[in-house]
Symmetry: C2
Subunit: 520 residues, 2 copies
């Protein structure tokens, strides 16, 4: 498969920089320094002294305000001010102190480092002020020479940087937590892949080339089970028998390395996570990186991939039980219908046809899936019909026919005591699948919409498949003849609406039938 | 149910304070201040000036070091030093600068605020030092009067506090992420409750009185499904029919309020989370609090409960499918065995007996569960045996007996094509359950351990239940007679080891049988 690890596409405009990547982008971004003073000279001298200062290789950008009011506007426009040098006396004797209080309490800004500068220390005694106001430093203008000013700036920006760094980590972790929640709500493996891919993109703030996962389990019978997944943003592949080669060579190599070393493998262009899920199961997942990324982002991506591995194990367990259930129902439904080990695929085909019709009718997808999985139970009441009647080559006599008809009620009786949705709907399908739209069916002679929808769907699917199949007593009907019968029985045997769908999509239905041919 | 919301127990010694609760406890804890100087006078004067200082109402605690080496020992013992005042010249001219480098780089401490104090500014020019070393302030001893020293301490401790606060949030979130992972790995609802309870305790750093959950779903058939869970640290309750009253009155009231307002309810002594899971499902969960807790902890607990609700929905979906599968197998297995709708409970009872024996044999629990769920398939090959043989009142003749014996192979053939573990083991149980330990069984006449363990278990369980049950052609055997037969057939029909277990625990097996009596 030609599935390049590296996406050649550039980062789309919609992929906005994430907080976790700010460190990279910020290499060029200046630190914002607010100079707040009612004397122009103080502002311009400060700017002159500081203009060439670099902190961690980043320059400073100056925001100026000549009053507490102007300063408030600044703080409302900029949430990322690293440090503010605040004069005490402006509009009034304590304008600067009030501003500090407003910044911390009203503006809820606790990250900006606030340095009070005063020309009249008597107005705001250092010890009282620093105790009573949430400022980070206090400077007497007289003593604040250029060296001292630079030192102050260095110190304050470093504190700001340290706080910001922890906040980025926290924000990133929150992103991972929400990402995990969305992945957890995947209904199946394909949706799972699509969601992980999207969440990895969002976390990286860039397009990842692709997402790969290899799940490995020794099952309770001691057999090895493996599942390989690949998703590159458009194509989804799943392989449970390792027959297709769904990973590119270089991906395969990295994943084998992680699998055999039982540890993560990090390379510039990819991140490969190994997670030991239990004594008997493990998972290797890989995300390819189109662009370099920070160590924080890599750490978060690793956290995400670990969670994703655990979620996949739960999901695959669920899918496995669902498929096992379905498979067992097909096997047993068919065995009961045929009363022999000569298993054909009537129940499998009817199941697909019912699913198709139910979806075209616009029914709720949960309900559609219930109907699909319950249809194999439609004839289980035949278990109680003696073989001499079930297998009678000729036409049934009156008494025999009465016995045969009991299978609808018997099937219902077998299943109806269950409180679970699947047997409940199975019971109804068993009971109603021989009712007819015009009221001439059995066991109750219900008419039209008195017959539950799942019964009406099953009725037509059962007839179509039976006519199209070879039976011991008949050849398969040609499609034209089946179509003619459908049209004839529209509004008689069959619900007109469902019948129209069957007629309109007859080719699709025949194609579905072809997926599971009977052994000839 | 007398299930008090408030645990009267005090916090156990093992419940250590969590980082998320430090704010509460710290009201009394002093801030650690490291005084590092080779001159005793400098240290004692600093201590004298600072000893009555309170920052956010918390006093200072002084840690003293007279050399860089002593200081390293301090940093290795204390990871929670708020501020260190570091002399530049100690063992040598740049001992203080080397110490700073060691603290940041080797000790990996980036939270302690470092203030350099120098008596000889020429040795370490302010601007160079603050640019090249990751310190937070630089002070000339000559200028550092008592007011200035206090100001410095206030400013530095505030920075430290801000960094710590964000770190607490992050650490708490990391705790929630790992807690979620552990809850995600619950195998069933009971384990789920126990794990949530434990994680809530750990997060709170205290004993929670109890954990309650109410899950609500409108299923695909439009029916309402509800599940109520309660766990108080020792007793687990689940109620799916709302028949028992498993919540205390005040809990019920709070949960109803959350359910009807579609929002969280917070009270001093409890936290109740509402999570809308999908259009058709929602979950209310409640944790009772024995002691007051911080708003950060409440926020984190809410995050945990939201995740826990999603995890529960996945888990209950899995459990529902598993139980549906089991129920269908019981219904169909019994129907096939009896070839009628007269369903007894033979397959259910055999299933329980097999589980019991397999557990006593010390087999892996996953394997035990597979065997338990596969046993209902043991006789599905009888589907192909004609009724005249199956229901023959008298003894079968030679040909009839040959036909009857085919059911083992037919059952295997029906199931063996599946790649899934459950049908695979079902196929083996069907094939081997009439083999005998001494080689006199069918279809293959295997001997001893040539017969797979699941076949040997099924053989004895099947016989015990059949003998103990009433059949159309016989009365139930009295227990003593069954026991006598088991002893007689030990090493002949039955595996001696399994037979010994059955004999030793015969009363338990009879008690298991009594759970599902046949309708008389």
């Amino acid at each position: 498969m030609a599935n390049p690890l590296f996406s050649k596409k550039s980062v789309p405009k919609s992929a906005q920089a994430k907080v976790t990547d700010i460190k990279l982008d910020e290499a060029l971004t200046p630190w914002k320094v607010a100079l707040i003073d009612d004397e122009d000279d103080v502002i311009s001298i400060s700017e002159m002294v500081l203009k060439r200062v670099l902190v961690d290789s980043r320059p400073l950008e100056f925001l100026k305000a000549h009053s507490a009011q102007e300063a408030k506007d600044l703080f409302e426009q900029h949430s990322d001010i690293a440090i503010a040098l605040v004069d005490v006396v402006m509009e009034d004797d304590h304008a600067g102190l009030d501003l500090v209080k407003w910044i911390r309490e009203s503006n809820k800004n606790t990250t900006t480092r606030l340095v009070l500068r005063t020309g009249q220390p008597g107005e705001a005694p250092e010890e009282d002020v620093i105790r009573d106001y949430d400022i980070n430093d206090y400077k007497n203008k007289a003593e604040l020479n250029s060296t001292r000013l630079k030192t102050t700036i260095y110190a304050a920006i470093r504190s700001y940087r340290d706080i910001l760094e922890v906040q980025h980590g926290q924000k990133g972790l929150e992103d991972v937590v929400s990402a995990t929640t969305r992945v957890l709500q995947s209904a199946n493996s394909e949706e799972f892949c699509i969601r992980v891919f999207k969440e990895a993109n969002d976390l990286l703030g860039q397009e990842t080339g692709a997402f790969y996962l290899h799940y490995h389990l020794i099952n309770a019978l001691g057999n090895e089970e493996q599942i390989q997944l690949a998703y590159d943003g458009s194509r989804y592949h799943i392989d449970t028998h390792l027959e297709h080669d769904i990973y590119p060579d270089s991906v395969k190599k990295t994943m084998s390395q992680a699998m055999s070393s039982h540890s993560n493998v990090e390379q510039d262009d990819r991140l490969c996570n190994f997670t030991q899920l239990s004594e008997t199961s493990s998972c290797v997942s890989l995300v390819s990186l189109a662009h370099p990324t920070t160590s924080l982002t890599r750490r978060l991506l690793n956290v995400l991939l670990t969670k994703v591995s655990i979620i996949f194990e739960n999901l695959t367990r669920l899918e496995d039980i669902e498929r096992t259930q379905q498979e067992l129902m097909y096997i047993l439904g068919e065995a009961i219908e045929k009363r022999s080990k000569e298993t054909g695929s009537h129940v499998r085909r009817v199941s697909l046809i019912c699913e198709f019709l139910a979806q075209r009718l616009g029914l709720d997808e949960h309900f559609v899936q219930l109907v699909k999985h319950a249809t194999p139970m439609h004839d289980i009441g035949k278990i109680a019909v003696p073989e001499r009647i079930l297998h009678k080559p000729g036409k049934l006599d009156g008494d025999e026919w009465e016995v045969m008809k009991t299978h609808a009620q018997v099937g219902y009786d077998l299943l109806c005591n269950s409180k679970r949705a699947l047997p409940q709907i199975g019971a109804r399908i068993a009971l109603y699948h021989h009712e007819k739209w015009d009221g001439s069916g059995y066991p109750s002679g219900l008419k039209g919409k008195e017959i539950p929808i799942e019964g009406r769907i099953m009725a037509i699917a059962d007839v179509i498949d039976a006519l199209a199949a070879r039976r011991s007593y008949k050849e398969p009907w040609p499609p034209q003849q089946i179509l003619a019968l459908l049209k004839e029985e529209r509004g008689r045997h069959f619900d007109p609406e469902i019948c129209d769908i069957a007629v309109d999509h007859f080719d699709n239905i025949m194609a579905l039938r072809a997926i599971y041919p009977d052994d000839e």
